[in-house]
Amino acid sequence: MATSPDIGALRPEYLVELEPLTDIEPDRRVSLGARLWSQGWLRKSLILIVLAVLWEALARYQDNDLLLPGFLQTAQAFFDGLASGELVQRAGLSLGVLVQGYLAGITLAFILTSLAVSTQPGRDLLATLTAMFNPLPAIALLPLALLWFGLGEGSLIFVLVHSVVWAVALSMYTGFLSVAETLRMAGRNYGLRGLRYVLHILVPAALPSILSGLKIGWAFAWRTLIAAELVFGATSGKGGLGWYIFQNRNELYTDRVFAGLVAVILIGLVVENLVFETLERVTVRRWGMQR
């Protein structure tokens, strides 16, 4: 090559005799600030506090507590509701229905998506049904629900399924379609087919999308439940959180309305941070599939 030969002479070669490695020192300590900052719940609590302060300030500025009660007033109503046991009981009722509808919706989404991923008609069916039914508001289903399931839980679950299934199916399906070709081939190469292929390859590979679909589905289930409980509102003793909110709204107990909503929010936060966050940590993040 063209390099002048003297350069080599200028830079002597060298060789190092390596001793076994022993002197690997322990972790450097990180500063207290950094350690606190690394605690997700602390950062998030901070955000919550800021939001609460903003809320209170806004409410005081608007000074119209029939429309927007402040944080403190709502907190008062919330704790009253807790103390009387009403909020807990209502939330429990709602959660019971919610979980049933949510699980049913996920199951249906999984079946539809599995069909879609394995056959062309299944694929068309999913695309068409989703495009058709996803935009339909829950109230549109009311007459049908009345006819088929009567009033009460059956109808609520029907409406919940409707609100969960399309969003979850869309996310799941997108996830399935985006699985890397090599990974698919590896799975097929093991001899996996049909459901086992979906469960062992597609589902874990598409988990990030599936989880986002599950989160969206969960949120929409809540929304719909609250809205639907107004309508299907079970009999007075057996109404859930939506019922609680509706009733108090009708009576212009706005602080209680907000207390009900706070209950929804808190349950949302708990589910996000305990369930979904944990799921993500022990799966997609641990596996390096998501940052």
């Binding site: 190469n189 093991y190 874990p204 799966t283 390096g288």
Partner: protein, 284 residues
Amino acid sequence: MTRDATRELSAVVPSLPDPLLRVRGATLEYRSRERVVRATHRVSFDVLPSDRYILLGPSGCGKSSLLKAVAGFVPVREGSIELDGKPVREPGPDRIVVFQEFDQLPPWKTVLQNVAFPLQVARKLSRKEAEARARHYLDKVGLSAFVQAYPHTLSGGMKQRVAIARALAMQPRILLMDEPFAALDALTRRRMQEELLALWEDAPFTLLFVTHSIDEALVVGNRVLLLSPHPGRVRAELDAHAFGLHSAGSPAFQAASRRIHDLLFDEPAVPHAAQAQVLARAAA
């Protein structure tokens, strides 16, 4: 392809065993809305039981495509591929592939699970047996210390070694390896070649092996199929059973290596110029 290349090889030499894998006039194409790319053009060859059969050819000539076609992932557009006399229709654990890509390991399984899982699925081993066998092969590829690691924490070469261990552990009817050692350093590569050949000595299996290294072809294989540049056509089939791990540097080895080299070099000049075979702007 000329007539004498497509002739029934085993018919000519009746004392040979029936081929395990029989590829006849296989044309492979990739079609999209915009264009059709022909990957191989009427390729024929036979792989006999216990062959260590090498596919050798320039980048983009269709080696991986051929391997995927044998594995059942890419359909032949013309011609046929038969395994044990039965046409290949779909993938299956009788033909385990080591892919060229680094993302062939399910990221949600540890190194150990990556090797053990297909054993449970396809070989019906119990979890325990599968893990024991997995550990055995992971040891052979030098990854004992990483059995609990997830694939995303491995280097490129380590990932490929996991895939190799997975394939070896499966002991398939025919092992399909696509440049399995390309990401490995000289030493590790050598060790892998040794392992592969030692396993073959222990219990001969059939191997279809893609490589771009002429030396590796001669060392690993007993038979080498030389493919032309894109689209791949059979250029030659050569014998390599005389060379082994310790032949490198011997005059015969060097001569064989040079001969293959020349066969590849002596292609009509500028082989890259007219590579893309844009057959049609079809509106599929």
